[in-house]
């Protein structure tokens, strides 16, 4: 049983695969629970329950354990009342149940100020920014990438400049984007666009170049000419790989969201995170991070299931 699990390059059966995939989420959660709930693991702080006579102790504050121990010792020596406290983790590591509550309340509590948005509204703003940034980028980058991957002329025409431009950090264009596009959604979409576009052209052209040239030769001996070669052989020949590339690139688009949402009128889920971190509401921060993770994972799973439906010929996809 055990040796079978660890035999090189052999696939587990579907039940085992499912179980192990679930484990990949369970294990980090267990680690988090142990660190949070077992008082003898880590817990470098003490939460004061009774400050006694120590002047700077207040009920509910977190004190380094060393400091606390010193004060307790002092209190014993001076025959004063002994301060009480429970082992605690630092404020930046809330326990799972706290994050769970925060996750729930974040959706149910009204924003404190009227100008602020509900969490689901911020989330929807973010999704829209990502969607438009990524769609606009793809609309331009995919055709350019396919052209560059198919014809050497276009490759030499586009790629040197793009290679240069992709080293310029997208966030550096923030102020410029605001100056040109105003302060609302447009500059945010532009940042996502700049962050995705240049990588996308290069990835797509690379994928296009990997098309088996003998398929093109076969098509030519069957009478295919220029345009039909492009649209009937190149495009369908790479479309499944293109689809996988897009799934990966969509992940990259999310990383530019943080920068995008800080420029102009700050908004969206990452602005929510920044704001909550400033107030030290780390339970809310973790809740928001988990939401982003869940959205990302769900989109990826949906896209992968959709892929199997759209591309029935793709063997490797059909197997997964």
């Amino acid at each position: 049983m055990f040796s079978q699990l660890f035999s090189v390059h052999s696939r587990l059966d579907s039940k085992q695969r499912f179980f192990v995939s679930i484990l990949s989420f369970i294990i980090p959660i267990i680690v988090w629970c142990v660190v949070s709930y077992a008082p003898f693991v880590w817990h470098p702080k003490v939460e004061i329950t009774s400050p006694a006579d120590v002047s700077y102790f207040k009920q509910g504050t977190l004190i380094d354990r060393e400091m606390f121990d010193k004060e307790v010792e002092g209190a014993i020596q001076n025959n004063q009342a002994i301060p009480q406290g429970n082992p605690a983790n630092p404020v930046y590591l809330p326990a799972p149940h706290e994050v769970a509550t925060a996750l729930y309340t974040a959706f149910t509590t009204e924003p404190r100020r009227r100008s602020e948005k509900w969490l689901h509204e911020s989330l929807w703003d973010s999704i829209q920014v990502i969607f438009w940034g990524f769609i606009l980028s793809s609309l331009v980058a995919v055709p350019l990438g396919i052209l560059a991957g198919t014809y050497d002329v276009f490759s030499k025409l586009f790629e040197p400049f793009i290679e240069f431009f992709r080293y310029l950090p997208a966030p550096a264009f923030g102020a410029l984007a605001v100056a040109i596009l105003g302060i609302h959604e447009a500059p945010k979409i532009a940042i996502i666009f700049i962050g995705t576009f240049f990588q996308q052209v290069l990835v797509v052209s690379n994928t296009t170049r990997k098309l088996d040239p003998s398929l093109l030769e076969a098509a030519m001996t069957l009478g295919a000419k220029r345009l039909s070669l492009l649209f009937r052989v190149v495009v369908p020949g790479i479309v499944t790989h293109l689809y996988k590339d897009m799934r990966i690139l969509l992940g990259w688009a999310w990383t530019y969201l943080i920068v995008a949402e800080l420029i102009g009128t700050s908004s969206g889920i990452t602005w929510f995170i920044t704001q909550q971190a400033r107030y030290k509401n780390f339970d809310n921060v973790y809740a928001a991070i988990i939401i982003i993770g869940v959205i990302g994972l769900t989109t990826d799973i949906v896209l992968s299931i959709l892929g199997k439906k759209i591309f029935p010929w793709e063997k490797s996809m059909a197997k997964v």
Partner: protein, 304 residues
């Protein structure tokens, strides 16, 4: 084999002789004139093909055989229009060919079926490229698929088929365009021996019933003798025509003939041309440094 008393490969019985006389009166389908091909490499130019001249008659089956590096693949790629000759001409029905076209069908060793199309759509590809409508293409494609015996698989994708079936689809796809000549580049090279034998008889069956000339590249001597009317033997470095052999084995062919005297005689001749005797001596230059590594007390003292 060399100890066997065999007739000369040049000896033909009357029936065979008569057939060749009639064949040579047929119109010429493909003519290759003074064909040369040089490749420019960083180490200098390499002559792949030198002064190749030959012709094929209508509905003839020609095999091209030669040692590795003789440029047989380069030759067929030039005929298909996938590569351009350095000098010389390729004429199809008397017209110079230029670039690839549907008048010369090609079957590759690596199948090259479009993985995103079903068997039916693969066969329809060429028909649609030549401007035939969807309905007509589909109708004709299904006929060709039926002809290669794959009607039950017309809606399958290539990855669901075995190697032999894939190659049958590739043949149907090439034939659907009704090419003047079918170029086949070691099409059965990747198949196992049994499938290969089956494919050879299928191909002969197809060839007998369809108006098509076949030029077939192989490195398998049996395959060449079994399939061909004539065998074009190439020599390596540079690739030149060494001999054109008229196969004296009577048509129609059957696997029983594989041990007939004419068959063996032709095969021996090919053997001589492709692996000349001095090559056998040459083996000593490239030998294994073998010493006995079996323990003296081994249970099996000698394998003999």
């Amino acid at each position: 084999m060399s100890n066997l008393e065999l007739p000369s490969y040049l000896e033909q019985n009357n029936e065979v002789k008569d057939r060749f006389t009639r064949m040579k009166k047929r119109p010429v389908t493909l003519e290759v004139k003074n064909l040369n091909k040089e490749f420019i490499t960083p180490e200098g130019s390499v002559t792949a093909l030198k002064n190749i001249n030959f012709e094929t008659y209508k509905r003839e089956f020609v095999c091209v055989i030669g040692p590795s590096g003789c440029g047989k693949s380069t030759l067929i790629r030039i005929l298909a229009g996938l590569e351009t000759p350095s000098s010389g001409d390729v004429l199809l029905d008397g017209k110079i060919v230029n670039g690839p076209g549907p008048d010369r069908g090609m079957v590759f060793q690596g199948y090259t079926l479009f993985p995103w199309l079903t068997v039916k759509k693969n066969v329809m590809f060429g028909l649609e490229m030549s401007g035939r409508g969807k309905r007509v293409s589909e109708e004709q494609a299904l006929q060709w698929i039926d002809l290669v015996g794959l009607s039950n698989f017309s809606n399958s994708y290539p990855h669901q088929l075995s190697g032999g079936m894939k190659q049958r689809v590739a043949i149907a796809r090439a034939l659907a365009n009704q090419p003047r000549i079918l170029l086949m580049d070691e099409p059965f090279g990747a198949l196992d021996a049994q499938t290969r034998a089956k494919m050879q008889s299928y191909l002969h069956e197809i060839w007998k019933n369809i108006d098509v000339t076949i030029l077939f590249i192989t490195h398998d001597l049996d395959e060449a003798v079994y399939l061909a009317d004539r065998v074009l033997v190439l020599k390596a470095h540079p690739g030149e025509v060494q001999e054109v052999i008229e196969v004296p084995v009577p048509q129609p062919r059957s696997p029983d003939q594989l041990l007939s005297p004419e068959f063996l005689a032709t095969k021996r001749r090919l053997e001589e041309l492709i692996h000349p005797p001095e090559d056998v001596v040459g083996i000593n230059d490239d030998h294994l440094n073998m010493v006995r590594m079996v323990d003296i007390n081994n249970e099996v003292e000698s394998v003999f």
